[in-house]
């Protein structure tokens, strides 16, 4: 099972050993504000776990803390190995792929150069990348800054698919995209989820329901709920923790 949150019981150690990701008591304060307040959850290998919550709940900070871009205290284990304290580049090389909230493609570099920069092994998987995102092959010499938002999102995801990563952290892939591009992105992510364990931060409930099997809900820097994605069918839970109505 994925998305197991809260206090850890006697079986936690064996669970963590099997987990793609286990964070425990992740805490971070910035300028006196408590951004993360003891976040703990595990993500089992395989499938998509959605990390959701209101704006400011700590979702992006959690992902950034997992890869060391934020210096939170607490434990971060990837495939059973403690990586807290490692520099970011080492955590990434260990087997994490990170797609940031605002894509952060290198706008002055071409599509091809963005991908080349991401190469880390001897056999970058261009075939896989171009199979999922054929448009990137056609635009390989185009400056990334001139791509549309959807194309930049494709490039950001393609960069992490280029190498064989066991764990992908994808932050709000639908953010700022038109409905047509959101549909294309979801189709692409459906192909991606067979390649690795995915932790998906996403505000769009419909996207979460379509892609994720498990969910972790953050609220004010804490894990407020964890369970199967079907829990989102509970309108009271959604209203209370996400502040939105799912409608019918």
């Amino acid at each position: 099972m994925a998305g197991t949150a809260g206090r850890r019981g006697a079986g936690a150690a064996s669970l963590d050993a099997a987990a793609a990701l286990a964070v425990e008591d992740l805490s971070l304060s910035i300028a006196g504000s408590r951004i993360l307040d003891g976040v703990s959850f595990t993500v089992a290998k395989g499938g998509v776990t959605a990390l959701i919550g209101r704006n400011g709940a700590g979702k992006t900070t959690t992902l950034r803390s997992v890869i060391g871009l934020e210096h939170a205290t607490g434990s971060v284990r990837v495939a059973g190995v403690e990586v807290a304290g490692w520099p970011t580049f080492r955590r990434i090389r260990f087997g994490i792929g990170y797609v940031p909230e605002d894509r952060d493609v290198f706008s002055h570099l071409t599509v091809k150069e963005n991908l080349q920069l991401a190469e880390s092994g001897t056999n970058p998987r261009y075939d896989l990348v171009y199979q999922i995102f054929p448009e990137l092959a056609q635009r390989s010499q185009q400056a990334a800054g001139t791509l549309s938002g959807g194309q930049q999102q494709m490039l950001a995801i393609a960069r992490v698919l280029l190498n064989d990563k066991g764990l992908l952290l994808i932050d709000e892939p639908s953010k700022g995209l038109s409905p047509r591009f959101v549909g294309e992105m979801v189709e692409a992510l459906e192909k991606v989820r067979g390649e690795a364990t995915v932790v998906l931060v996403e505000q769009n409930i419909h996207v979460v329901k379509r892609l994720a099997g498990e969910l972790v809900i953050l609220d004010q820097g804490r894990v407020a709920h964890a369970g199967p994605v079907e829990d989102l069918d509970d309108p009271e839970l959604v209203r209370r923790l996400l502040g939105v109505s799912t409608g019918t």
Binding site: T88, R90, R93, P100, F106, S107, L109, L117, S120
Partner: protein
């Protein structure tokens, strides 16, 4: 007319040397957001390293010997800069103000050490005779040193462009100048790029230190030479646009031309001794008021 042409060539040669210094400053700022005040120290160390070698060569060692001086000057600048990055800058990652302050401190220490070891008097670099001569074209007489300075600037500009465009380190540097965190988030140890860029900048500075002494300072080297040149290099970087190599090249030439031409026509002829320097400051004020981000913009390469 021939005088004007000779002055223009001299201004361009000076600009080429300014570019050598400014290119390192610009690369370091572009990637690391550090205004490196120790750059003048790297420059002076390069010049002194060349000086020491030249004293062991007979008649400056000819062309091969002079090329050796340039290599040693660049290598000395590179090594000192890279070591400074690892020992002094690296422990202060994430503390940009402290990083800037420590470069100021390093510069003061290096100048103090050079004063202590070599004294305050300038010393003469032994160079080949042909380097102190001139090439005559009709009535035109152009110092050979101008050609050397110009050639070095062009070679470094082209080489730097090829390096940034066609090597993986160049790719990392270009990407890091845009978003360092994301470079790390792709699994790249950006601290290696920091050290490399410091070393690269130090090499260009060391080269510039020796060339400036040979071409524009009567082959004399003094402990504070780097600091004097650094002021103009900073002006070049600001006019060109912080972080822009192309901007530094253009601004270097413009500043060199303005300085030499105004010094000749306003300084030498009217007796206004600092005319060249003051003209450069006026140029800086003009550019900043019209284009605050410099000629080539803040981060454009």
């Amino acid at each position: 007319m021939s005088t004007l042409i000779a002055i223009l060539i001299s201004g361009i040669a000076l600009g080429a040397i300014y570019f050598l210094v400014a290119s390192g400053l610009s690369l370091i700022y572009g990637l690391m957001d550090i205004l490196n005040f120790a750059h003048g120290a790297f420059l002076t160390i390069g010049a002194y390293a060349g000086l020491e070698l030249s004293l062991h060569l007979v008649n400056g060692g000819g062309l091969l010997g002079f090329l050796g001086l340039l290599v040693v000057a660049a290598a000395a600048g590179a090594v000192v800069a890279a070591v400074a990055e690892v020992l002094l800058i690296r422990p202060l990652y994430g503390r940009p103000v402290s990083q800037i302050l420590i470069t100021v401190g390093l510069d003061l220490v290096v100048v103090g050490l050079l004063l202590g070891v070599f004294g305050s008097d300038s010393r003469q670099i032994a160079v080949p005779v042909w380097l102190t001569g001139a090439t005559h074209v009709g009535s035109l007489s152009i110092p050979n040193g101008d050609f050397v300075g110009l050639a070095a600037g062009v070679l470094v500009y082209v080489g730097l462009g090829l390096f940034l465009k066609h090597t993986r380190f160049g790719l990392v540097i270009r990407a890091g100048a845009e978003n360092r965190d994301m470079v790390q988030a792709l699994g790249i140890d950006v601290s290696k790029a920091f050290t490399f860029v410091f070393g690269l900048g130090g090499a260009a500075a060391g080269l510039a230190g020796l060339l400036y002494a040979v071409v524009f300072s009567g082959s004399l080297v003094g402990p504070t030479q780097g600091d004097q040149l650094l002021i103009f290099a900073f002006i070049v970087v600001v006019i060109g646009g912080l972080g822009s190599i192309r901007g530094s090249a253009i601004a270097g030439i413009v500043v060199g031309l303005v300085q030499v031409v105004s010094q000749f026509y306003l300084g030498s002829k009217s007796g206004w001794a600092e005319a060249g320097d003051i003209s450069v400051v006026i140029l800086l004020a003009l550019v900043l008021s019209l284009r605050p981000s410099g000629l080539a913009g803040a981060r454009e390469r």
